[in-house]
């Protein structure tokens, strides 16, 4: 069994494999998104307190879930890369970071667009939004560190270590921000006070989250292919790949 894993973890076998997997994940993402959007707009009932504005949660909550989930997955790949001293896991961690940062940003902006009509303010320093903001800083730090180290192997390892330090800190940061929030009861608003959930609402969020998840896998695989090409452009397998591509076109 082990042999298979090592075979698929080398760039030259993983590159075409990823290429074949991308359309599948992309289409599954589209299907889930269509179902999720249909439930969010046509099946989920109007909330009697928040009116139609609550429908923002169908992007806000899944984006927030994904932002945290991607960080965990990224740290997992990082740990794997460090412990096995392998290239592919480190590349996967690097490929996931921008997508995670985008979902974090989306969660922040849509949260703000939800807060404005509901509570009359664009920004609330509540525990969730604040932790989400800090998560964005952690993503940006990871990306900045990796892009400022020239040697890719070194960048991989340094980034992986930073991701691990971050993942140990995330629960502590979340706990401390929550504690800070309960002590400063200036704002009684809580973004956590979501409308009373109906099953269809949960279902809508679930499908949107699944769509985001599949999208993340597809786009991370696309990006990992780019990273492989950039790092190994002089290697033989890339040359063979290019020959095949031009042969196919001619």
């Amino acid at each position: 069994m082990n042999i298979n894993w090592f075979k698929y973890s080398s760039p030259q076998t993983f590159y075409p494999l990823a290429g074949r997997m991308i359309p599948w994940f992309a289409w599954i993402a589209v299907i889930f998104a269509v179902i999720g959007l249909y439930i969010s707009f046509f099946i989920a009932p109007t909330d009697f307190q928040q009116g139609e504005a609550y429908r923002i949660i169908f992007v806000h909550v899944p984006a927030a879930w994904m932002s945290m989930f991607i960080y965990m997955v990224m740290a997992g790949w990082a740990a794997l890369g460090l412990s096995l001293n392998a290239r592919l896991p480190a590349m996967m961690a690097q490929a996931l970071a921008p997508t995670g940062a985008i979902f974090t940003l989306l969660a922040l902006v849509t949260g703000s667009f939800w807060g404005k009509p509901m509570w009359g303010t664009w920004w609330v320093w509540d525990a969730r939004l604040t932790s989400e903001l800090i998560l964005l800083f952690l993503y940006l730090g990871f990306i900045a560190l990796q892009s400022s180290i020239d040697d890719p192997r070194k960048a991989d390892k340094a980034g992986a270590l930073l991701a691990l330090v971050g993942v140990v800190n995330v629960p502590i940061i979340y706990f401390s921000v929550k504690w800070w929030n309960t002590l400063h009861q200036g704002s009684t608003i809580s973004m956590g006070a979501a409308p009373k959930m109906v099953t269809t609402m949960l279902l809508g969020m679930l499908f949107m989250a699944l769509a985001f998840w599949m999208y993340t896998i597809a786009v991370a695989l696309m990006r990992v292919r780019c990273i492989m090409l950039e790092r190994e452009r002089a290697s033989d397998w890339v040359k063979v790949l290019l020959l095949k591509a031009t042969g196919g076109n001619a």
Partner: protein, 56 residues
């Protein structure tokens, strides 16, 4: 189905700006990300091609 008409649907009970901005921005960001990654791939492929030609 609880929308009386399409215009009621687009109006979103008076919250059209907030709701459509949130969904629109999300769609825009994801589309932009895909385009950016595709462009990065094309650049990488071109560079690799140039390198292969140089060596020949």
């Amino acid at each position: 189905m609880h929308w009386s008409s399409w215009s009621a649907f687009f109006n979103m009970g008076g919250y059209a700006f907030y709701v459509w901005f949130s969904f629109g921005l999300t769609a825009l960001c994801l589309a932009w990300e895909i385009l950016a990654v595709r462009k990065r791939r094309d650049v990488a492929l071109n560079l690799a091609r140039l390198l292969a030609q140089d060596k020949q």
